[in-house]
């Protein structure tokens, strides 16, 4: 099966929904070929605005458009969207709770060769602490399409985290119906829970198969919605399995694993192990080599699953 990057699915979804929602406008900062907003631009040139290499202006211009009833999708790399333009996102989008959608591509180390300056590993943390910001992190083309739909239907700011790397399809088109604040149960199990987001869902699926071959029953969940987070589902996994592994292509500080741990510690504490980047910057290399270097792999999820099972009471 052909692999499709979530950024590609994002560009296609914008062009598709742009047909239905005439208020959608798309802004980019000289990266439309990479963020794939180019697909929308070709179809709706009058509703596309290139702001140039100026991410701060990008975000605040989108805010201005939103005050006039437009549904702006502001797109650039995650490192610039959440990093360089943080104050604009906080003060001009988050604080006035404007209806701006941030399409942040090239998140994580899997962009590969460009290296640490472009490998965003802090954006989940930065975005989820902004009051009222919805944070989405789809795993494949179909869930990306669903995340774009959710973003349009939700009134308020939304951050969508997207990847550069082509990935297998997990879901069939038309068969997935995402809800805001809900995770997706891929399979139920009783020995260990694996909660993954974004690219790491693919590794988690492989890890679950490996564990099952050893007779370990895995409760496996894809979490495309990091904020609001699916509290009920997290607690169900905790109560069913008694231990959890989280997996994300992000710093383990403040990210998805932290969000899961915040829910558990206040409601139903169980042992947790986190797979992610351990408070480091990234580095250059082929995507698969970089992912291996930082142990963002199915093997590491298996190791952590075995470790966390030993901590069960």
């Amino acid at each position: 099966m052909a692999k499709i990057a979530t950024r590609e699915a994002y560009g296609q979804a914008l062009a598709e929904f742009g047909e239905i929602y005439k208020d959608i406008v798309v802004l980019d900062a000289d990266l439309s070929k990479s963020t794939r907003t180019e697909i929308f631009k070709k179809k709706f040139p009058d509703r596309f605005f290139n702001i140039g290499i100026a991410e701060q202006d990008l975000m605040a211009t989108a805010a201005g458009l939103a005050t006039c009833g437009k549904i702006p999708f502001a797109s650039t790399f995650a490192v610039f969207a959440a990093g360089r333009a943080y104050d604009q996102v906080r003060n001009s989008i988050g604080y006035p709770h404007l209806n701006v959608k941030i399409g942040a591509s090239h998140a994580g180390v899997s962009i590969g060769e460009d290296g640490a300056s472009h490998q965003m590993l802090e954006d989940i943390a930065l975005m989820r602490v902004i009051p009222g910001m919805v944070v989405l992190s789809p795993s494949d083309a179909v869930s990306t399409h669903e995340c774009v739909r959710l973003a349009i239907e939700h009134e308020g700011p939304v951050y969508i985290r997207l990847g550069r790397l082509g990935v297998e399809e997990i879901y069939k088109k038309g068969e997935l119906k995402l809800e805001l604040g809900k995770g997706i149960v891929l399979q139920k199990g009783t020995d260990v829970g694996i909660l993954a987001t974004g690219l790491m869902v693919h590794e988690a699926i492989k890890a679950a198969k490996m564990l099952q071959e050893e007779g370990i029953s895995v409760y496996l969940v894809d979490m495309p919605c990091i904020k609001p987070i699916d509290v009920d589902l997290i607690l169900d996994v905790a109560k069913t399995t008694g231990c959890i592994v989280t997996a994300e292509e992000h710093n383990v500080i403040g990210g998805f694993g932290s969000a899961v741990a915040e829910v558990l510690i206040q409601n139903y504490p169980v042992p947790v192990k986190m797979v992610g980047v351990n408070d480091e910057f990234g580095r250059s290399g082929k995507p698969e080599d970089v992912l291996k270097y930082y142990k963002l792999t199915a093997e590491e999820i298996v190791n952590k699953a075995k470790e966390v099972m030993k901590l069960k009471k």
């Binding site: 406008v25 100026a54 605040a60 805010a63 201005g64 104050d87 604080y95």
Partner: protein, 282 residues
């Protein structure tokens, strides 16, 4: 502008100055200096120029104003109260815990506030977004924005200046409140943005220089801006920080310091005399 109209506006401006003094004095904090310098600009926009209706503050066809220098909030609140968007009673709560009148304007809390501002350098981009939306929707409303002359040290202003010219936003008029002072001193000593007129010209803007306290010059510039096609206009308004209160004028210390009771009393007496002088003029 006829004399009667000008006198009327001068009276409103004096009332707004009093309100700025009262708000900051009651709050014991706030920014009187840069609020007083922009009084005539906002008075003209809100009481002569802009199509706005306090009874219908969200009218999609209304003109928009963005206070990019959000710390001049007492000025905006005074104008909105005078215009009837909020009650004058509310002004007493400026910067207090129970009030909607935040230190810097919050569009979600105050009718008539078009954008939440405070972090400098962002309002011009927002105004561009509003002007782009007008073009897309083929609406003829205009967008106004007030920038501080210290504020334009922010790099984002120049990103936005490029965007406005690139997209030919002739429905956008910016005012530069050129009072020459910022918190740490003279703008030319802290980090000179001069020559501001040449810079904006080079960025593709139509530039008009005026005395920012002269209603006739403000009117002339605003009307000229409306005739300019294919480019945005910036009106560089030469102003006096602390204008109207003798001991605050051109004193950098009054950027972000509220008057105490006695100082407020003195300021209000001066402003009352100015008001009475206008009455006597007949």
């Amino acid at each position: 502008m006829d004399k009667a109209k000008e006198k009327e506006l001068k009276k409103i401006a004096t009332e707004i100055r009093k309100s700025i003094i009262i708000q900051t004095a009651e709050a014991g904090s706030g920014h009187p200096g840069g609020s007083l310098s922009g009084v005539e600009i906002l008075t003209y926009l809100y009481f002569v120029e802009m199509k706005i209706d306090p009874k219908n503050p969200k009218d999609p066809d209304r003109d928009r104003f963005v206070l990019s220098k959000g710390h001049a909030s007492p000025l905006l609140y005074a104008v909105l109260a005078e215009k009837g968007f909020i009650s004058k009673e509310e002004l007493k709560g400026f910067r207090q815990i129970y009030s909607n009148l935040q230190g810097h304007p919050d569009m979600k809390k105050v009718p008539g506030v078009e954008m939440s501002t405070g972090s400098l350098g962002q309002g011009l981009s927002v105004a561009n977004g509003m002007a782009l939306a007008a073009k897309l929707d083929k609406k003829d409303y205009r967008v106004y924005v007030l920038l501080g002359d210290g504020e334009i040290q922010e790099g984002q202003i120049w990103e936005a200046a490029m965007t406005a010219a690139h997209y030919k936003l002739d429905n956008l008029t910016a005012f530069l409140d050129h009072n020459g002072l910022q918190i740490d001193g003279k703008i030319t000593e802290v980090m000179s943005p001069e020559p501001v007129d040449e810079k904006f010209k080079a960025f593709g803007w139509h530039v008009i220089k005026i005395d920012g306290h002269d209603f006739n010059q403000i009117e002339g510039a605003v009307n000229e801006a409306k005739t300019v096609k294919g480019k945005p206009t910036i009106i560089i308004a030469e102003t006096v920080k602390g204008k109207g209160v003798s001991f605050m004028e051109n004193e950098v210390g009054w950027h972000g310091t509220a008057p105490n009771k006695e100082q407020a009393q003195k300021a209000l007496e001066e402003l009352q005399k100015q008001y009475e002088a206008l009455e006597v003029q007949g």
